[in-house]
Symmetry: C2
Subunit: 249 residues, 2 copies
């Protein structure tokens, strides 16, 4: 597809009182963002909400209808605070049902010790797909454009290859370049503004470093056309004295 075609978009919904209380640091969004970028999907919005069915359901409705894909993180275990399946079902107006294949896998896994609690993990929104790959055979739940991913960071990461296999490669992966400078933001602004105006197809970011030792400002150039993205960076660098540039990426 042509690089100027609008990108496929995604949103993430992080579910969990433990994130909003600061007891646990959110650790999945950046991994998701990087995985999506590699396949050309733009993560446009992230929302973090508490473990409340109605709040989650409202957010699932809003985000899934305004983005190509929605990824939820958290709330898919067996306990009372795991309400994501119920909330996603509510958002799409479907029932919660037990998936026979998941139930069989849970019974095989837990054997004699399998409890009602464990079997709650077989519950899915009616109509959900159970997504697997040849390597990752424990199913990941997807209902239409909404993926239900677990909050535990190690397990969340294990699921990403399943997501990527299903999304496919859009052939429009994002490319990034950067210039690291010994100048502060206020000084580089005029040169930066020119490049921003000349390269509307390249997203330019400016990030000062606090207590910097090696550089003071990092300027990033992101786009879906390698040549244009590099040209933007190089046009900007040409506006500076050689000694101001620490290194280029």
């Amino acid at each position: 597809m042509h690089p100027s075609a609008p990108p496929v978009t995604a949103a993430a919904l992080v579910i969990g009182n433990e994130i909003l209380s600061g007891k646990v640091e959110e650790a999945n969004v950046a991994a998701l963002a990087r995985a999506l970028r590699g396949t050309g999907v733009l993560l446009r919005r992230v929302v973090v909400v508490m473990d409340e069915v109605d709040a989650i359901a409202a957010e699932v409705r809003a985000l899934s209808s305004t983005h190509d894909w929605l990824f939820t993180s958290g709330g898919v275990g067996p306990t009372h605070d795991d309400v994501t399946v119920e909330a996603v079902a509510k958002a799409f107006g479907v029932a919660v049902v037990s998936a026979p294949s998941l139930e069989a896998m849970l019974r095989a896994h837990y054997g004699q010790e399998c409890t009602e609690g464990h079997l709650r993990m077989a519950l899915v929104p009616e109509g959900a797909s159970l997504e697997v790959t040849e390597e990752i055979t424990w199913p990941t739940i997807r209902l239409r454009n909404t993926w239900l991913l677990p909050g535990i960071p190690e397990v969340f990461r294990m699921k990403l290859p399943v997501v990527l296999a299903r999304l496919g490669d859009t052939g429009r992966a994002f490319v990034s370049h950067a210039a690291y400078l010994q100048l502060d933001e206020g000084v580089v602004k005029p040169g930066l503004d020119r490049v921003v105006a000349d390269f509307p197809d390249v997203s330019v970011g400016s990030y000062p470093k606090w207590h910097a030792t090696d550089y003071r400002t990092k300027i990033t150039f992101d786009g879906r056309d390698e040549a244009r993205t590099l040209a933007a960076r190089d046009a900007f660098v040409a506006s500076l004295a050689a000694g101001d540039v620490v290194r280029l990426d």
Copy 2:
């Protein structure tokens, strides 16, 4: 105030393409959450959006009107991608003006090297308060219930004491207790459900640990009444065998 009074609520709005692209890990929400909890304010919702004036303005309107306090993180520097001041002004229908006291501080700080870019950092939404404490004299911008905090983690943290000084202590700080178990979630669910039902004023969370060495599940008990929160934890622990409990917090 009585512990059963509804808590003061807050939302956070994180602004930045660099977070949504996964190039930078978000590092301010957890620090804000912990600071707010200590003073009895409940962070209920976090949203992350791109550097787009209209998207930010819409979110500021929505979050500031549904929470007691709103904290924005990011987008307050001098470059083209710093659009938070403009967006907050738009959200509240006020102009962007240069604050004379900020402009004087910037001119004093940068001296001869002060540029138009630097002076952009004197821009504030009209009617904004410039909040300081005796120790932290560089102003923090607040418009009504909305605080504009910088995205750089070190600077964000420097501003938190200013926020807390202004919010005051609600006298209803949250207290947390926990039990660490050698059991999995599916097994503890019945005992947990009973405590959840018996202590509606205590928020109970259950968090499995993946590849756990010291414990398998952490059960948390959060409330604003120390005695009730401890009682919930102890009622739950009484439902277990002594060997199942690794430790208590």
